[in-house]
């Protein structure tokens, strides 16, 4: 993990008054610099990071580079092949595929990030407390995790998606339910991972030292131990982002995602099936977009794993 190395001069430089803000800014800069130099140790990670940067850039710039309304239908320009006017062509309603992919990506990425965040917010405290306190808390939490892991995820998605559709929720609530369903499926894996690392970490001497100076258990577990256990979580979260994206795409491919006019990579692929023979490009671009995004997350996750866990390099 990148270590925060702040040189002594930063704090001891008494001639020039340094405000807290500049100090923390400088510290941030150091951390970033360290992180980048660590990242450069793995080619996979660099490639993944670059692909992610492109993805992020495209999502942020969507309102400026998407040239058409992703929802407005235009029957004069139905099923066009890629051209200078429509980079990726148009679909059967004459909507620009390039614009739809951009807007869809924005939505899809937001949902996956939020879903993984939900998993992290539930899983990490659960894993930490269960690893640190042990006894009945541990026994109880791990039973819940075991049961949850045995529970097939696809069943949860299908049931929740069916329910959400029947209740005819507005788009926002629809997405929220999806985030919840996906996130709740992430937590057991994360909780188990954190618990394992916490178990190893709590035997170390610095924990003993903290106890000796009288820090509370809650403080030790959350402020001292947890930060040292984060590296596997970061790797797992990155890889989960990719798999979550795949699940969302599959659900919307089945027509269980957001209702039709919303731009969505999965449902656009499904629409393309009727015109595959004559206009294969409609089916190719959304699929490429999904694969690109998932590949970016997977490459980055793999690279991070190499950096954070040197024992696994060459595996």
């Amino acid at each position: 993990m990148a270590k925060c190395v702040v040189s002594q001069e930063d704090t001891l430089d008494l001639d020039v008054p340094v405000s807290r803000v500049t100090l923390s800014l400088r510290r941030c800069w150091e951390v970033c610099k360290n992180a980048v130099s660590e990242l450069c140790r793995s080619k996979t990670a660099i490639l993944g990071a670059l692909m992610l940067l492109v993805l992020l850039g495209l999502c942020l710039l969507t309102p400026y580079i998407a040239r058409y309304d992703p929802i407005k239908q235009n029957y004069r320009e139905m099923l066009q092949t890629p051209s200078a006017k429509h980079y990726f062509g148009t679909d059967r309603y004459g909507r620009d595929i390039w614009s739809r992919i951009l807007w869809g990506g924005r939505r899809l990425l937001t949902i996956s990030v939020l879903a993984v965040l939900v998993g992290i917010l539930v899983g990490i405290p659960m894993g930490t407390l269960s690893g640190y306190y042990g006894k009945w808390i541990d026994a109880f939490t791990m039973r819940v995790v075991d049961a949850w892991l045995a529970f097939p995820g696809i069943v949860i998605y299908l049931m929740l998606a069916t329910l959400v559709r029947e209740w005819k929720l507005a788009e926002f609530w629809n997405d929220l339910a999806l985030i919840f369903a996906l996130g709740i499926n992430q937590f057991p894996r994360l909780a188990r991972l954190v618990r394992g690392t916490v178990l190893a970490e709590k035997e170390k001497e610095y924990v003993e030292a903290c106890r000796a100076i009288g820090d509370s258990n809650l403080y030790i577990s959350l402020r001292e131990i947890l930060p040292n256990c984060l590296s596997p979580v970061i790797v797992q979260a990155t890889v989960s982002l990719g798999s979550t994206l795949l699940v969302i795409a599959a659900l919307s491919f089945l027509g269980l995602g957001s209702p039709p006019p919303t731009p969505d990579w999965g449902s656009d692929l499904n629409l393309a099936r009727d015109h595959m023979e004559s206009r294969p490009h409609i089916a190719i671009f959304p699929g490429l977009a999904i694969s690109y995004a998932v590949l970016a997350f997977n490459l980055f996750g793999d690279g991070l794993r190499d950096i954070l866990d040197p024992r696994l390099t060459d595996r």
Partner: protein, 316 residues
């Protein structure tokens, strides 16, 4: 081993309980009247129909009693009647199980046929172009959505080349040739992800295994290299690989929903999908329950098998 098996089966009880409660509550969480949902039409006014349904499902009794009545029906193989076909659901679903099993098994076989040689080659020729190509392929395989891969397969092999059919199902017991021809595309699309995962796994277990001392001993005894690799090392490396592919079989069942829909494969996954589209809730309930139980049981069997192969494993 006996204790382990008993313990492991005891763990199933809460999971199955939650699974049944979830499937049961599906119908009750829907908007509107339960009787409307069960009868498949809105605003059932005929009092005789209402009363008959109420009596059958015990709808005038408390919710937990309803759950046990439903569970009793389910345990006797009665999942109710489909609202679309008006036939018993058990009949509809059970006759489709073989098609799904066939697809899942052939998918797993295809994935192993790709993954084991590729992973072994990558490990043996470590850090060469072969290794990098195998690693890249498996990474791409993990990242491609299976339904897109399926569409590309149909586009290329059925529409452009016209080599393989893109839909229809023939039972392997009736027309073996036709059946094999028809299963290649769906099974390949289903197995591609598994193949990618298994390639990585085979590679890393092989790398572990090659470094062990018995390999050096075998080499120093003058055994030919292929014999060392294929007869000794690979055999040991296969233990975790096979276990994981068993576990993946459970995941594969989830994938059948999408793949069966694309290839018009008459399996459980497609039944479930059609039920969701046509809002046939008793069928959704049954499909979800059967899929869930299948996954849980497969996981149990794999755990037990792993324990037999590797006795050091303890119950977590």
């Amino acid at each position: 081993m006996v204790m382990y098996t008993i313990n492991r089966i005891l763990y199933l009880i809460p999971v199955l309980f939650i699974l049944t409660v979830a499937a049961f509550s599906l119908v009750h969480c829907l908007p509107g009247d339960v009787i409307d949902v069960l009868a498949g039409q809105e605003g059932v006014v005929d009092p005789a129909v209402r009363q008959a349904l109420e009596h059958e499902y015990g709808l005038n009794k408390p919710l937990y009693t309803q759950y046990f009545i439903w569970l009793n029906h389910v345990l006797h193989g009665d999942f109710g009647t489909s609202q679309v076909t008006r036939r018993p659901i058990a009949l509809e679903i059970f006759k489709r199980i073989p098609a799904t099993l066939y697809l899942a098994i052939v998918g797993t076989i295809i994935s192993l046929l790709i993954a084991v040689p590729l992973g072994t080659m990558a490990a043996v020729k470590r850090n060469t172009a072969v290794d990098y190509a195998a690693q890249l392929l498996s990474l791409v395989g993990i990242s491609i959505p299976e339904f897109w891969f399926a569409l590309l397969c149909v586009l290329f092999f059925s529409l452009y080349l016209g080599w393989l059919p893109s839909s229809e199902y023939y039972s392997p017991f009736d027309h073996l040739g036709l059946s094999i021809q028809h299963i290649i595309l769906p099974a390949a699309a289903l197995g591609i992800r598994q193949a990618a995962i298994t390639t990585r796994l085979t590679r890393s277990t092989m790398l572990d295994e090659v470094q062990k001392e018995y390999v050096d001993t075998a080499r120093s005894l003058g055994l030919p290299e292929w014999k060392v690799i294929y007869q000794y090392t690979l055999r040991n490396a296969m233990i975790p690989t096979l276990t994981i592919s068993g576990l993946q079989l459970a995941q594969l069942l989830g994938g059948t929903v999408v793949i069966e829909t694309i290839f018009a494969w008459p399996g459980v996954g497609r039944t479930l999908f059609e039920a969701i589209i046509s809002r046939d809730f008793p069928v959704i309930q049954a499909g979800v329950l059967i899929l869930g139980v299948a996954v849980v049981v497969i996981n149990l069997l794999v755990d037990l098998m792993y324990r037999v192969l590797n006795p050091r494993v303890r119950l977590a």
